[in-house]
């Protein structure tokens, strides 16, 4: 589904952050990308989702046979690439439900499906809300405005559930969550594991992986993937810390 080859990227007019990433992700797989602060985890999520401010200097990213880097951010989204934000953005005055419906219909149009009317939409929404233990009042509030940290993250996963992406990037989804919120969010993600969907989790901590079990674990350090393995790699990292990476982690 996703093939990253020798990806180099820098902050626009700044230093190089990604220094040759190679990664292949198949449909149905869950990959965890771990690494210390400053290793390039969020940059990777940004580059894959088309966030402005980064410049790819070398390498390629192929997504479902397409050159992902040639697509604008909104085109990538409509093609099924979803980013759950580390810091979801507030949009004052825009009702959460209205926002979600606009997003969903933009994606549906891309797939050649008709727009959902208000009734159909509400029905679909209610089912997902229940799964994620989200109150309906969240829908009537403005997008992320005044949401608690846990509400913001749950809202991200709720949007993901509604938009049904093919490739989901979860950027530090566990950060700022207490144990109950983490359990709920993880349950929501697990419910969305599917044979035709790939998930890439970016996290600093191993604890998320106790709830969402990855098929593959990669360790990013100094802009490169320095280790790959199965879940046991994460356990080992947890025991020994990123110091086990030696100088590369510094």
């Amino acid at each position: 589904m996703l093939e990253i080859k020798n990806l180099h990227a820098k902050i626009a007019e700044g230093r190089e952050i990604l220094k040759g990433i190679d990664l292949a992700v198949k449909a149905g797989e869950v990959h965890a990308i771990m690494g210390p602060n400053g290793s390039g985890k969020s940059t990777l999520a940004g580059v894959l989702s088309g966030k402005p401010g980064y410049e790819v200097t070398e390498g390629s990213v192929t997504y479902l046979g397409k050159d992902l880097l040639a697509l604008a951010a909104d085109e990538r989204a409509r093609e099924g690439v979803f980013l759950a934000f580390q810091y979801p953005v507030e949009i004052p005055g825009v009702n959460n439900m209205y926002f979600l419906r606009a997003a969903l219909n933009a994606t549906r149009r891309q797939r050649g499906q008709p727009d959902l009317d208000a009734g159909q939409f509400l029905k679909a929404v209610r089912a997902k809300l229940k799964e994620l233990e989200i109150g309906e009042d969240l829908l009537q509030r403005n997008v992320n405005v005044g949401f608690s940290g846990g509400e913001k993250k749950r809202n991200e996963i709720f949007q993901m559930a509604m938009l049904e992406p093919k490739l989901a990037l979860l950027d530090e989804t566990d950060s700022g969550l207490d144990i109950d919120a983490l359990r709920i969010v993880s349950k929501g993600v697990n419910a969305q594991r599917a044979p035709d969907r790939a998930i890439i989790m970016i996290t600093h901590y191993q604890r998320l992986l106790d709830y969402i079990e990855p098929d593959h674990v990669h360790v990013l350090s100094g802009g490169k993937i320095v280790m790959s393995g199965d879940k046991s790699l994460a356990t080992e990292l947890e025991k020994r810390g990123y110091a086990m990476l030696g100088d590369a982690a510094a």
């Binding site: 934000f85 005055g93 825009v94 606009a102 933009a106």
Partner: protein
């Protein structure tokens, strides 16, 4: 869905009686020759077959205007206007007897604007008093309104049919010499709308007038007078569009609202006049005086405006809170893009006890647009316990535009409470990216964010107007993000 023919009344054709006062101006002509002097004023008055008192009123205004100077205090760059170069009166070529006789081109234009006269009234329950250039072309639904005793007609008709009401209230809120542009309007106003809602009557439909500027070189000087008698309620919609043109066009309207005891007037405007091209060439100058008086106790006046057009906007819809427990409201969205300039706001003058006012202003600047909020809150000594809440938010798109907030607060009663909040923000790349990451195009994302920013104002508009306004916001900002 066409309105029944009998509900559509036609406005009489322009009078061509011989001229009473012996001046040489050719009364048969369709337009006044360029220039402005007392003869011009007499010509207009004669064209409209006005009574002597109104001519005298106009002449008094004209004499005051001659002693006045164009205001310089606004944060606007205005090229000198040659008031002698414009023509101050022009009428459509023929006075139609019914809708069938209305110029098909005109009807087509209305349709392009989404306001087919023939259907809109019936569909939306809106009575339309359409002003095309200077003379009303058609007035609808008057019969239905008449059953309730509501008068809704062109200003000229009101002068003929209801002279006592006009004479009593004309200039009672905006006196002839109030300001330079109001004085000019008072001297040469062409036509406009008049509405009177009798005591205790709730007007069952939104009254609506669509203004268009069409004849080249003829400034428009509309005059609107609305009176809500004791306990009456009326909601009035004003919307305008204009075709492209190369010359700056002056528009100096005057709107006067009078709300008596327990009456409520809601006045909504969507203003979309031609703003000029990307270089700022050819846009409308919109210098408007709008003021309402809450003349009785517990009266309420609410202004809502969405200003997206015009090259220059100079406009301060205001409330005189004369009675006790009166309420004044001002909700505004003003957009300036390209080289547009807007200096707009309100005046809330608290005279009555327990009077309260709310001001919500949203300014959006894009391109090289300059947007100024200018507002006065004045609490007079008698206005014990007066309350005001003001919120001014500015949104910047790009880095070549400007937003300015100029609040004036004058409090002469110690029990008053006045609050002012102001924010300035830029549309952030993070917001745009967040929306795009959810599949919205950049344009849709911008429109969504801007509409969210304006939500508090847009929700004050009647439903169908709000939809139109949202589209306008998106259109007005086209191309403002790279």
């Amino acid at each position: 869905m066409t309105a029944p023919d009998d509900s559509l009344e036609t406005v009489r054709s322009v009078t061509s009686e011989s001229y009473k006062y012996g001046f040489v101006t050719d009364i048969e002509s369709e337009s006044a020759p360029p220039g402005l002097n007392e003869d011009t004023v007499r010509f207009i008055s004669a064209k409209k077959d006005e009574p002597q008192w109104l001519l005298d009123w106009r002449l008094e205004a004209f004499r005051q205007w001659q002693t006045m100077e164009s205001p310089e205090w606004a944060k606007l760059k205005i090229a000198p206007i040659d008031y002698q170069a414009a023509s101050y009166y022009s009428a459509p070529k023929q006075g139609p007897k019914s809708l069938d006789e209305v110029d098909p081109e005109l009807l087509k234009t209305y349709e392009k604007l989404g306001i087919p006269l023939s259907e809109r009234a019936a569909l939306a329950g809106v009575a339309v008093d359409a002003v095309f250039d200077s003379v009303s072309v058609a007035t609808t639904f008057k019969g239905k309104l008449a059953e309730l005793g509501i008068i809704f007609c062109s200003f000229g008709e009101a002068v003929r049919e209801h002279p006592d009401l006009v004479r009593k209230y004309l200039g009672s809120v905006v006196p002839q010499g109030d300001n330079f542009f109001a004085a000019l309007n008072s001297a040469v106003f062409s036509d406009g709308s008049f509405a009177y809602v009798p005591p205790g009557v709730r007007c069952p439909m939104e009254l609506s007038t669509y203004f268009r500027i069409n004849a080249a070189k003829s400034g428009q000087f509309e005059r609107t007078l609305l009176i809500a008698d004791k306990g009456a309620y009326v909601s009035y919609l004003e919307g305008c569009t204009a075709p492209q043109r190369d010359e700056n066009q002056l528009h100096a309207a005057v709107v006067e609202l009078i709300a008596l005891e327990d009456a409520e007037i809601k006045y909504s405007t969507v203003q979309n006049w031609y703003p000029g091209d990307a270089e700022g060439k050819g846009g409308i100058y919109n210098f408007v005086t709008k003021r309402g008086a809450c003349r009785g106790n517990r009266a309420k006046i609410s202004w809502t405006q969405v200003e997206t057009g015009s090259a220059i906007t100079w406009k301060y819809p205001s409330c005189l809170l004369e009675g006790d427990d009166t309420v004044g409201e001002f909700y505004s969205v003003a957009i300036t893009n390209n080289l547009q300039q807007a200096d707009t706001g309100t005046k809330m003058i608290h005279l009555g006890r327990n009077s309260s006012s709310t001001i919500i202003s949203k300014g959006i600047s894009a391109g090289r647009g300059q947007n100024t909020y200018r507002g006065l809150v004045r609490v007079q000594p008698r206005a014990a316990n007066a309350r005001n809440y003001t919120q001014c938010d500015s949104l910047l798109i790009g880095d070549r535009c400007g937003a300015h907030t100029v609040p004036y607060i004058e409090v002469r009663n110690p029990s008053a409470r006045v609050e002012h909040e102001a924010t300035t923000s830029k549309i952030s790349d993070d917001q745009l990216f967040y929306c795009q990451q959810r599949g919205l195009s950049k344009e849709d994302a911008l429109s969504l964010i801007v509409n969210g920013f304006c939500r508090e104002v847009l929700k004050e508009l009647p439903m169908e107007f709000a939809v139109e306004a949202q589209k306008l916001l998106a259109v007005s900002l086209e191309g403002s993000v790279g």
